[in-house]
């Protein structure tokens, strides 16, 4: 009685921005029935940054001082799932309450969002595939590092495995296909590229991403008050560090004295 072990290689959909076929309905979101205890509010039918921002804003207002009695919110690329107890509040009342929140939000200015710095030691033993990426792009390894760390990526959602951030916005000139032969074990913290996607393995798992570096940060700590470091809606900035700096941060983390660098940014 087992489902066939699925490969732990994330099969990610590359966020495509500005594609013509995208249908965005920020003003008139769709409310999808998802059983008696959940409703999904959908802002677009494709991956779209404006829709994702609308998801984050609604989540924020429902979780912070919202009057609606809910169990939890689950933000994804272009929709927000809201879980509730139908014996306490009816689905119709939840939908009405959400519509009121949306009306209220539409009158407000842009929100702030958080940006986290992820120190990465590129290349060497931590990033054995950086040469593949450099060859594929026809540039030097140093240039791969520069391009990978130059742009702030956007975390559209967390999913697939605990703490895995679906990131969009990587410089597409360093896009590289996955490895033909996936590795059976990849250390948690490894930073990789798969097609147009970049990502960080939160926990040890098998996978076929081109590994270009590793962060000493722990992306998923079950016993911590906040188990995941990156939250949906965060900006993610990769910061190149040396092997020595990596080791320093690692020992600060072991001692429990490392504070991740998270800043507030106006949208």
């Amino acid at each position: 009685m087992r489902l066939q072990e699925r490969s732990l290689v994330p099969s990610l959909q590359a966020p495509v921005e500005g594609v013509v076929s995208v249908s965005v309905y920020l003003k008139e979101p769709r409310f999808l029935k998802a059983g008696e205890s959940c409703v999904v509010i959908e802002f677009a039918d494709e991956i779209n940054r404006a829709a994702n921002d609308a998801v984050m804003n609604l989540r924020h207002s429902l979780e912070n001082g919202g009057k609606l009695q809910i169990i939890e919110c689950l933000p994804t690329y272009r929709s927000l799932a809201v879980y509730f107890d139908p014996l306490k509040v009816s689905c119709d009342n939840v939908i009405e309450g959400i519509k009121r929140e949306l009306d209220h939000l539409s009158g407000q200015d842009g929100h702030t969002h958080k940006e986290i710095s992820i120190p990465v030691c590129y290349g060497g033993e931590y990033g054995p595939d950086i040469k593949n990426v450099a060859e594929h792009a026809g540039i030097t390894e140093e240039e791969v590092i520069r391009r990978h760390s130059a742009r702030v990526c956007h975390c559209y959602m967390i999913g697939f495995v605990p703490g895995f951030a679906y990131l969009g916005g990587m410089d597409e000139s360093i896009a590289t296909p996955r490895l033909a032969n996936p590795r059976t074990v990849i250390k948690g913290g490894s930073v990789g590229i798969a097609g147009k996607q970049t990502g960080i393995y939160p926990i040890d798992s098998p996978g076929g991403w081109q590994l270009i570096g590793r962060t000493p940060l722990r992306l998923f700590t079950p016993e911590a008050e906040r188990p995941t470091l990156i939250d949906a809606g965060y900006g993610v900035r990769f910061v190149p560090v040396s092997g020595d700096e990596y080791k320093d941060i690692e020992s600060l983390i072991s001692a429990g004295t490392y504070k991740p660098v998270i800043t507030e940014v106006k949208c």
């Binding site: 059983g35 014996l87 697939f160 939160p202 939250d231």
Partner: protein, 352 residues
């Protein structure tokens, strides 16, 4: 009391009502597959509804009691036995030091049950829950299913635990796992992604539970449910408990306790709570049919379940208050019936 595992059985793990509140971090809810059975087992012992228990799958474990305590096996009849005597499901009893729990095998009315103990399984709470999510080794007993030699601590029982001995769930309150009725689906989510013919196929044909089913999902074999031209893939979104997902191969998969938080396949709707319970007790090879439910039917099922639990709480309160049974300790944090001058009073005590 502590429980020591002599043989672990096919798949035995600590589960409660699930790890809610962390799906946004990609953490699956997990929890008991048969939630109503766990709740009933707990209230029969005077536990909070969500106390952790051992989820037993098909072939049960062998366990030895260290110290004394109160237990009940809630769920399908898997041959729950104590010291060689067949006790069966829904019968609470006292265990004494050295007593041996074993299971003689499934008796044909389901495949999962919960070994509940007064006080609950006292494993560490991780992200608000004691449930085991085995794929990421979170929660439960060291993040995994039980093995020989594991010793589980039991929490502090209700003060009237000894008087609960012998409390049995009346026949008419026990779940009927295999009624001759279809499983109900509340249509929604990506129902627009399927052709009319496809939807008719789902609701008019018979499906067989595949052997490739587990705590994550139940796969069905049968006729393919046809998608419209846009196909079966969507931009990943949330997967609620009981969601009926239909990938490109056209065969439905019901998403269960250990489902991933999000996924990229079309979902035609969500099974109602009572239908999820009936599904998780069915074994591979069994046939099912689906029918469409209304929102009010689904909510009504939850209300009926809640009523049943309240009735069981009162029955237990009567049982522990029965005549010929004296009680001298301070009745803190408990629930019983007291008769004063011929008037019955429902008494709930809490320590302030």
């Amino acid at each position: 009391m502590e429980l020591e595992v002599i043989k672990p059985g096919m798949l035995t793990s600590v589960q409660d009502l699930g790890r809610w509140g962390f799906q946004a971090s990609g953490v699956p809810v997990a929890g008991a597959m048969d939630l109503p059975a766990l709740r009933i087992g707990n209230v029969m012992l005077g536990n909070p509804e969500g106390a952790a228990a051992l989820e037993v799958t098909l072939l049960g474990p062998e366990i030895s009691a260290i110290g004394s305590g109160l237990v009940v096996f809630a769920g399908a009849e898997l041959g729950f036995t104590v010291n060689g005597r067949h006790v069966g499901s829904w019968n609470s009893l006292l265990l004494n030091d050295g007593d041996i729990i074993s299971f003689s095998g499934p008796e044909g009315n389901g495949c999962r049950g919960y070994l509940c103990a007064a006080g609950g399984m006292d494993v560490p709470v991780v992200m608000g829950s004691r449930s085991t999510y085995m794929r990421a080794k979170i929660g439960g007993y060291q993040g995994r299913s039980l093995r020989t030699g594991d010793v589980l601590k039991i929490g502090e029982p209700d003060l009237l635990w000894k008087r609960t001995d012998g409390f049995t769930l009346p026949e008419d309150m026990r779940p009927d796992y295999f009624p001759d009725k279809p499983l109900l689906i509340l249509a929604g989510l990506q129902e627009d992604a399927f052709t009319d013919d496809g939807i008719r196929t789902l609701f008019e044909s018979e499906y067989t539970i595949s052997s490739e089913s587990d705590r994550m999902g139940c796969r069905f074999e049968g006729l393919q449910v046809q998608h419209k031209e846009a196909g079966a893939d969507i931009v990943s979104d949330a997967i609620p408990l009981g969601a009926v997902q239909i990938p490109g191969h056209g065969k439905p998969i019901a998403m269960l306790a250990d489902r991933q938080t999000t996924g990229g396949y079309t979902k035609i709707g969500v099974l109602t709570p009572a239908s999820i319970q009936k599904l998780v007790q069915r074994m591979p090879g069994m046939k099912v049919r689906f029918a469409e439910a209304s929102m009010s039917e689904a909510v009504e099922e939850l209300a009926a379940e809640k009523d049943r639990l309240e009735k069981i709480k009162r029955l237990r309160a009567s049982w522990v208050s029965r005549a010929g049974c004296t009680y001298s300790a301070r009745p803190l944090s408990s629930h019983f019936i007291m008769t004063v001058n011929g008037e019955k009073y429902d008494v709930k005590c809490e320590e302030l």
